[in-house]
């Protein structure tokens, strides 16, 4: 139908002629089923006697990336309407975002405006590569987006659609359709949406379940606007075990009760971690250090700082003492609770068998670390011998923990726990955390905030093998940088900046930059002034 007839139209200056058109944009991540959702929306519209037109931008540019679909519709008339092929800023009635940062993207593109836009979004996150590759915490701030979404939209419908999809064994597209139907933004009945799902003919039952749940959430029939905050494991939850151990546990708790109040919660978690890692004696060692820190903290006026020094020490010392060695990994891998977690994760039911394959790659460093310290050190001092050990052990090992013999090997290694205190690795770790505490304690006499920052730098130490070595070197470089700024009024601030820089990228380029900045202003001042 080529409509070439000249029809006169008298200008109606300023009167937007598209008010009868409903404009719907869908922002999704490639692979989320945005195309299916778009087809459904068109079908619902046509089912209700509307003209509808959809467009998309498919192709390789869409693979796992942000993508956009667009639908326009209006009640059918004899003549065809002329619809736009893409959304325009300030001119979108319904914006469906399949992930919360995509809602944020829609807002930055001007597709969400308070005068007209109903924003329907899933509040879950699909992290972008740029967020995931940060060695620290690179996650974008969701709260900012949620606040903006409230302000920028006329009506904001937001709930965890991905968990509904998982629970109903369906896809997020069905939840988005439910959200759209429940938002009331389109003048179509719930039944007509359901007919559309049925007509599509694939995975109908699951889609309908997901649609229904999402519809209820969007209309407020079901309370699902915010995913329930995860229940924090209570550090005081009942502890079970042999009686003599429980006696020791009560004694540890009694010691915690004597700590300043602000330190107790974190110390309780810390004790739990190190006792679980080793034994109750280890818990006593831990509390010895925490008590010393609390005492030093009190003397430094910690009460007015909420005992930040002792709290920070309690937190990071627990992590330092529960260092990741081969024994630790083996111990965790063979626990019964871990077997149950794996089963849940795999979604295996009772009739299914489950095979678990671990990916281990020990090297000579790990093996020497496991040896009694004199022997381990002696092997390390002999390059030929060390290389021989490495040749013997250094290869990828796939261990089937569900079958008896491989299980026994890990079970045995996990059982080496009681010899741990004599190992080379333990001796090194202990020396490392002791010198870290000494350093912080020295700093505490000088500058309270600075000392807390030095303690916090322990966060940098993580990972295994090469990653662990790199993290230790970053830790050392940050503490060297701390020495440079010690005594300055802004020393604490500088240490924080150095630490954040160290967590920003893998190679430590940001850290190098920050250290260069420090050196530049140190060099400008009188040589030796900081010593």
């Amino acid at each position: 139908m080529i409509d070439a007839a000249i029809r006169n139209f008298t200008a109606t200056a300023g009167q937007d002629q598209t008010e009868g058109i409903i404009k719907v944009a869908v922002l999704a991540v490639g692979g989320q089923g945005g195309g299916v959702l778009t087809d459904w929306i068109v079908d619902v519209a046509e089912r209700n006697g509307y003209h509808a037109q959809s467009t998309s931008v498919p192709g390789v540019a869409q693979r796992t990336g942000a993508t956009i679909y667009y639908v326009e519709m209006m009640p059918a008339t004899e003549r065809e309407p002329v619809f736009a092929l893409m959304p325009a800023p300030g001119d979108v009635d319904v914006l469906v975002a399949a992930e919360i940062m995509e809602a944020g993207r829609a807002i930055t593109r001007g597709f969400v405006t308070p005068d007209r836009t109903t924003l329907i979004a899933s509040n879950h996150r699909m992290y972008a590569v740029s967020e995931k590759i940060v060695p620290g915490d690179g996650r974008a701030d969701v709260d900012v987006v949620l606040r903006s979404a409230q302000q920028a939209s006329r009506h904001f419908v937001c709930f965890p659609m991905d968990s509904i999809a998982v629970e109903t064994r369906s896809h997020i597209s069905a939840c988005l359709l439910g959200g759209l139907a429940g938002s009331g933004a389109l003048p179509f009945s719930k039944e007509s949406f359901e007919e559309t799902i049925r007509a599509a003919g694939r995975g109908v039952e699951a889609s309908l379940r997901a649609f229904d749940r999402a519809y209820a959430a969007a209309t407020g029939e079901a309370e699902a606007t915010e995913s329930a905050p995860p229940v924090s494991a209570d550090p005081q939850e009942p502890v079970t075990g042999p009686r003599r151990m429980l006696v020791r546990w009560s004694a540890l708790n009694a010691r915690i009760a004597d700590l300043p109040e602000p330190v107790r919660d974190i110390a309780r978690r810390g004790v739990r971690k190190v006792v679980d890692y080793q034994d109750p004696d280890y818990g006593d060692d831990y509390l010895d250090a925490v008590e010393r820190a609390a005492l030093a903290d009190s003397r430094a006026g910690g009460a007015s700082h909420g005992f930040a020094y002792a709290r920070t020490l309690a937190k990071y010392l627990a992590n330092a003492m529960a260092y990741d060695d081969v024994i630790r990994v083996a111990d965790l891998k063979v626990r019964s609770a871990r077997f149950r977690r794996v089963r849940d994760h795999a979604g295996a039911s009772d009739g299914n068998l489950l095979r678990i394959t671990e990916f281990m790659h020990p090297g000579a460093a790990e093996i020497c670390g496991l040896m009694p310290w004199r022997i381990g050190a002696a092997v390390e001092a002999r390059p030929g011998l060390y290389r021989l050990v490495d040749r013997l052990v250094n290869r990828g090992r796939r261990i089937r923990t569900d079958s008896l013999l491989p299980f026994l090997s890990l079970y045995y290694v996990g059982g080496l726990r009681r010899w741990r205190r004599g190992t080379l690795r333990h001796r090194r770790e202990k020396a490392h955390w002791e010198s870290w505490i000494d350093r912080a304690q020295t700093a505490l006499r000088l500058d309270y905030a600075f000392a807390v920052e030095i303690l916090t730098c322990r966060r940098l130490v993580k990972g295994y093998s090469d990653t662990h070595a790199r993290s230790l070197s970053k830790f050392d470089r940050v503490l060297d940088g701390a020495d440079l700024v010690a005594g300055r009024p802004d020393a604490a601030d500088w240490v924080r900046r150095l630490r954040e820089a160290a967590l920003a990228d893998e190679k430590g380029e940001a850290l190098d930059g920050a250290l260069a900045t420090i050196r530049s202003f140190i060099d400008d001042s009188v040589p030796g002034a900081t010593n």
Binding site: I6, F9, V60, T77, V82, T240, G351, I356, H361
Partner: protein, 717 residues
Amino acid sequence: MAERSFVKEVQQLRIGAGEEFRGEGILAITKALLEAGVGYVGGYQGAPISHLMDVLADAQDILAELGVRYEANASEAAAAAMLAASVHYPIRGAVAFKSTVGTNVASDALANLASGGVTGGALVIVGEDYGEGSSIMQERSHAFAMKSQIWLLDPRPNLPSMVQAVHDGFELSEASNTPVMLEVRIRACHVHGRFTAKDNVPPPLSVRDALKNPQRKTDRIVLPPAAFKHEQEKVTERWPAAVKFIRERGLNEFFGPKSAKTGIVLQGGMYNTVIRALQRLGLANVHGDTAIPLYVLNVTYPLIDQEFLDFCRDKDAVLVVEEGQPAYIEQAFGAMLYKSGAVTKLIGKDVLPPAGEYTGAAMLDGISSFLKDFDPSLLQAKDRAPNKPTPDSYGEDLTKTVPVRPPGFCTGCPERPIFAAMKLVEQEMGPHQIAADIGCHLFSIMPPFEIGGTTMGFGLGPASNAAFDGGGERRPISILGDGGFWHNGLTSSIGNAVYNKSDGVVMIVDNYYSAATGGQDILSSRAENKSKSTQHSIESAVRGVGVKWVRQIDRTYDVTKVRDTLKDALTTDAEGPKVIIASSECMLNRQRRERPVRAKTMRDGGRVEVPKFGVDEDVCTGDHACMRLSGCPSLTMKKLDDPLRDDPVAAIDESCVGCGNCGEVADAAVLCPSFYRADTVHNPGRFESWAARQSARLIGWLQARRESRRLRFGDAA
């Protein structure tokens, strides 16, 4: 077999006159080809017309019934060359490919075709990959039309107009003995709409029948002196014939009042965006009736001087809406006005963006600005001086918060481990000169891999490293996909490297399909294809052109092996190019193939293993080293509810397909022991179940024994 199946949709291609056709733009175009009595069709896949190729492939039975030959050409050059059938024979032919990259490849054949001219209608359907979502350099097909003298149609982006353009295109081609290019933009290809169908028409002369009576005319062959004659003919005969046909048939359209102070000339493809701007200004209604005269160029080349000058007569100013640059149409109109002595003001890129896509916002701004200058009475005060809301005027600025989300490798992609291995080699041996190619593997240039410095064209990866063929301290590396290999790479890249005794390393990424364009089969595909010949190995082809050092890797997920093979290639004393062929099936296609089979076996009580990876969150320290070697969408993060832990740990979500990359990378890069693979065995055998029960009993006893001797904290027992 392609990623998207049109088996259901193509049944609509059979409908007859008067019935309503509903569907996407590309499907409508296919139907129009059949209505127009096309004799042969072909092309090469690539967005946005990949699906057109998929539709044709799925419609092979219908095409065969009508006696239409369908060819999945090896490249756009091959597709354009196929139009040679219309040179001497009165047979209509159509080919489709992505523009402008495909048109670049095809331009040799297109130029030859256009020089000698055609007898049967020859239609080149080009999918413009321009603007949002585009995956290529931003250029215009218009230049190709002008340089070779191929007529260029740019119909309004609705199904009836696109269908009409196919019919008009064939007739125009035959009336002027000139090939015709039909340009469809990305959204028009996938616009959902409807039109009233006609009956399909079998070709009056089929290509099969044509072979009975071969024809040739020496004066149609491109060789001087005929070539000189062709050049004259183009301007003295074919051009005037085309102009006459376009005017008489009214291919370009006029809308709105006959006389007005201003008017707008636009490419057909821009029509909806222009109308939307006018609608929002109150200058057009929902049906497109407009208060401003519009001259819609459904044919953007050749331009019809007389039509344009008539349109300008009596108008103070005319706005040219021409997307992209250079502004060929605006320049041509300027020359026409100047030569005719007209005083009408010509406005174009003055008020519209000089480059880039003409979005709704750009069009509204441009047209408002044009009318403000030349007919402000049409605008209301608010449109004359609009108070533009900026995106951040509603709350905080989110541009720094919202992460970029460029495309990347899919979950379980077999190419990911190849680049993980390359990154490991770079970490060990230092950075190398690496040339990339076109295909999914080009995602390697993005984080987390950041591998590859240039991409020069399909199949040209190794060729683009030619300057470094002589070698040096570290060997140059180049990437080549299987699609690119068969498109052009075997000769231009591999043959070139052999002949020039290249010292470089070539990594051929073989995923069994032309995966980036939607999973079409190619020569080396492993699948049985009932109408095409597959299973021709890349290795034999590479050896056939003389490569001596070839390594075939049959499981790319073996990161250690890929890494070691690459190191070997970089250090061997062997002379000549070192070629590694890394083969594993595209995971999208594999899942699409295997999932239904697996589900059926499971239902029927057969034994099925379902793999899935997991992370022990107690073991993971949250340094994300694994993610810097992966980027897999299913390998994500989780913030633990533990005040002792600061950084989010790794977690694997529901979408995991158990490809194995996580475990292999953790092993090859010696990362950490956090990963595990859990294989769920559905419907296990009886002996297997019995053995598992015995193991489980003993293991359970050992676990209970140890756990009874220690303190147990809730779940962490």
